[in-house]
Symmetry: C2
Subunit: 335 residues, 2 copies
């Protein structure tokens, strides 16, 4: 642990009190000038620390930023997020940056995280709105022991992981909208973008991107999307800790990922069906100019959606866009 981290830890374990520069200087064996310099650095990183002559320093609040040291602080994972965390105040797209790192050999569990994205990516070349410090925009690098055709299962895994996270941290009734969105009261609150580099039968790396609207303001959402998108702040009026959300997401992701590596995807498929907004519904899916229509009956072992169509046949849909969804009894719509 370097001096800056030691000072931060010392301050965090001595909150709600004034501590003199003298005491800090003695305990950390550094000069009072060095203490003052490190405190300035912490303030610049967004930590709230008051200073007063004679009194010393008063640690009020951790940074509001998604700093790697905050994400790693008490992070209860074995691997994900424990090694490299690549942090950007602004970047084009965390998936793009993660791809570049993976090409240079970055290890599984490497995390790329940004306060804002200028070219945040969604599925099929769509964009993901990424206003600064209002959301979580992050990408995980995996070197998965799966075959390329199991990729849809990774999206299911990520969807389950972020949904579990939101249920645990916020208690809100979030649901998964197949294939890669998370809804809160029918509005999009998070999305997943799984991309991978493969040879014919071998995955080189998988990038799992997550965009989560945490404190996204109404003003940051273009008017035409306001009926379709929301954030935790907009829906609850509350500010949730982005650091805590990232930590819980990494924990849930790792939990399900290790399970899948060892036991396969059964547990994820089962949990996915419980968390899915469309289980049992009648839906229409647009995929490659073909529209599938039918009742959602299951998720196949490869992660495809299984529909029962009007003729009673089972149709398999790998990916697509739900353009219509009706609950069997109530006729209530989701989009």
């Amino acid at each position: 642990m370097n001096t800056a981290d030691k000072l931060l830890l010392f301050l965090k374990t001595h909150t709600e009190q004034w501590i003199s520069g003298e005491v800090i200087s003695q305990r950390l064996q550094i000069s009072r000038t060095a203490v003052s310099k490190h405190v300035q650095n912490l303030k610049q990183k967004g930590y709230t620390i008051e200073s007063a002559t004679k009194k010393g320093y008063y640690f009020k609040q951790v940074s509001h930023l998604l700093l790697p040291e905050e994400i790693r602080y008490r992070l209860a994972t074995e691997n994900l997020g424990q090694k490299e965390i690549s942090y950007f105040t602004e970047t084009d797209s965390t998936n793009t940056q993660a791809t570049l790192l993976a090409m240079r050999g970055a290890a599984e569990g490497t995390l790329v995280i940004a306060e804002s994205q200028t070219k945040g990516k969604g599925r099929k070349g769509r964009s993901w709105l990424s206003p600064s410090v209002q959301g979580i925009y992050c990408s995980l690098i995996l070197r998965a022991p799966f075959s390329p055709n199991q990729a849809p299962l990774i999206t299911l895994l990520a969807a389950v992981a972020i949904t579990e996270t939101l249920l645990e941290v916020t208690g809100l009734p979030v649901q998964i909208k197949w294939p890669n969105d998370i809804l809160l009261n029918g509005k999009k609150i998070a999305g997943i973008l799984t991309e991978m580099s493969t040879e014919v039968d071998r995955i080189d790396y998988i990038i799992v991107g997550l965009g989560l609207n945490v404190a996204t303001s109404s003003a940051a959402i273009p008017a035409e999307f306001r009926s379709k998108a929301t954030s935790l702040l907009l829906s609850t009026g509350k500010i949730f800790s982005r650091v805590l959300l990232v930590q819980k997401y990494l924990q849930w992701f790792e939990h399900y990922y290790y399970d899948a590596c060892q036991q396969g995807f059964e547990k994820i498929r089962t949990r996915w069906k419980e968390l899915s907004a469309i289980t049992g519904m009648y839906i229409k899916v647009e995929a490659f100019n073909h529209v599938y229509a039918g009742y959602v009956i299951d998720i196949d072992t490869d992660g495809s959606l299984l529909l029962r169509n009007g003729s009673g046949d089972t149709e398999k849909v790998l990916s697509g866009d739900i353009i219509h969804a009706v609950r069997r009894n109530t006729g209530k719509n989701i989009q």
Copy 2:
């Protein structure tokens, strides 16, 4: 066409004669100093041009390098190689550089080519020997309208394209060794590495890498590989034009690629079977720690190899390494 290209074209169309700087200067409407400067540049790029006071210039030979202007000169393709050609004297891997270009949005048909590679890649993280100016190391960027599970077909396509090229240019009895090697008299002369970036159901880009041993010397091949690898020079004692080989490869590739986009892969599968070294043979394939054994009966519509095993059942092999191959009647081996 810029002045440098105009001068080159003028010289190429006035070979086997001395041309005075005066004449060139008049025809191209540039100063004699400019003529002299451009000729120096061409010499530095490997063109053989004699110069003598009073006589002028004598164009003897085009460059021995794989210069983009030479590849494009009379290149009979519509798209492949016609736009961006990214040329390196040395690079890590043309597949890696093509991936970086594709991430930045490079168009279909972009070609990356290098005189040497420091980290030439083979399948499964293996390396590809890439001594300077002795081979062709190039990668094509495709934005294919195929689904990710059709990827094996792209490797078949590339294998057919380079085999057709070698048959046309050299007349040598080259054959395809499934899945991605080209053999000459049982020794490896070329290899293909197909990599791609995908979302679940959508290919973002495909990179098709080719390594071809043209003038590779015995000294450049490590002793332990000399029984398994060869080059056109080693097998025939002849020097073949690398530029011509690249041009023909682009033409054959485009021919089959456009056909596949419009008509599907039937023609490629048919031709592949004619050119395959293992059609009808009894082989053993190692894939993911499982060994498949059987007679090669066909290539499936998705590009998988179909084997008939000892029990008479058909087994489907997506990719792997042939560890044993015997011709049904003669018992003659290939490796």
